[in-house]
Subunit: 129 residues, 3 copies
């Protein structure tokens, strides 16, 4: 298993980890298989979406904040219930096929570590089969 | 890897691709394993949900449009930020167990290619392990 | 494949199934691999999130009910469209790496069977590779 270290610099942030994952897939020598990206945190998640225009990321983050506003009369005392909810909506894992030794991402797709309670030092786990 | 071609006919549409996936699982001869459905697009996703009553699909699509309305003061200039947000909420991959040579879907479950920026020609990637 | 039986006691409920999954991973003897949790229902799903403070679960469930309210003029005649929508948002599968014979969950992470139309007798499918 490979552990990617990720450093976030904002409370909400989508960090492009595609090139690191691509590098690990190439290094693995696996020609046909799958790559699992797993986020071992409860206030962070993973999204595969457009990497070309950074505005898409900002629109996604704004939208998640509309769906889970920071203050909404939550029970949990740590003041980050919105972060947990965003993580639950977005999900903790994605599985991407590997074909001919390369990650089968679509033309416009990038893989994003999604920080919802930063800034923090985080990890993404990569498993290649 | 298998590529399913999908043609959508509306801007928002859930297209049942279960029978194609079932066919590929049977053709693979895999008795015990997993089937990964991966969507290589940034404005489309995958949902496993009820296939029996088409109204469920419409309710899900309407609900996603309430959560990510088409116009909401987005930054991204292409006018399809809502489509990207829906794809991020719904997710790009699902992994379904295979048991005794068959997809272990529940009685009421179907697999849907979710179009959020159609009509378009699309693809779903199927990997069987 | 392993089938976990889950009994829910409320309409909306997040049930911690981590210890059962951990037990199955240990029993499998797999040292390095993946564990897939799959929910074969259309009004239930799976979330990986904080297990320590039960309030986090309640905040997530409340938030999902705000996003998909029980009555909203749905088409589907069975009166549980909100349950289907929640299941679509949350997702039907999660894939967790196994490392050194153990589930690679983060410190605060638990795996939850998410009931959205209980109380019912349910199943979660576990596949270890």
């Amino acid at each position: 298993m490979i552990t990617l270290k990720v450093k976030s610099s904002k409370r909400n942030e989508m960090i492009d980890i595609t090139s690191s994952i691509r590098g690990e897939v190439e290094r693995s020598g696996v020609a046909e298989g799958i790559c699992i990206v797993y986020i071992p945190h409860t206030t962070a998640g993973v999204i595969v979406n457009e990497g070309a225009d950074p505005d898409v990321r900002l629109d996604i983050l704004d939208s998640l904040t509309r769906l889970a506003p920071p203050s909404e009369g939550y029970r949990h005392g740590e003041g980050n219930s919105d972060s947990h909810i965003k993580a639950a909506l977005v999900g903790s894992s994605v599985t991407i096929p590997i074909e001919q030794g390369r990650l089968a991402l679509g033309t416009w797709q990038s893989v994003f570590f999604c920080e919802f309670d930063g800034p923090r030092s985080r990890r993404a786990l990569i498993r290649i089969l």
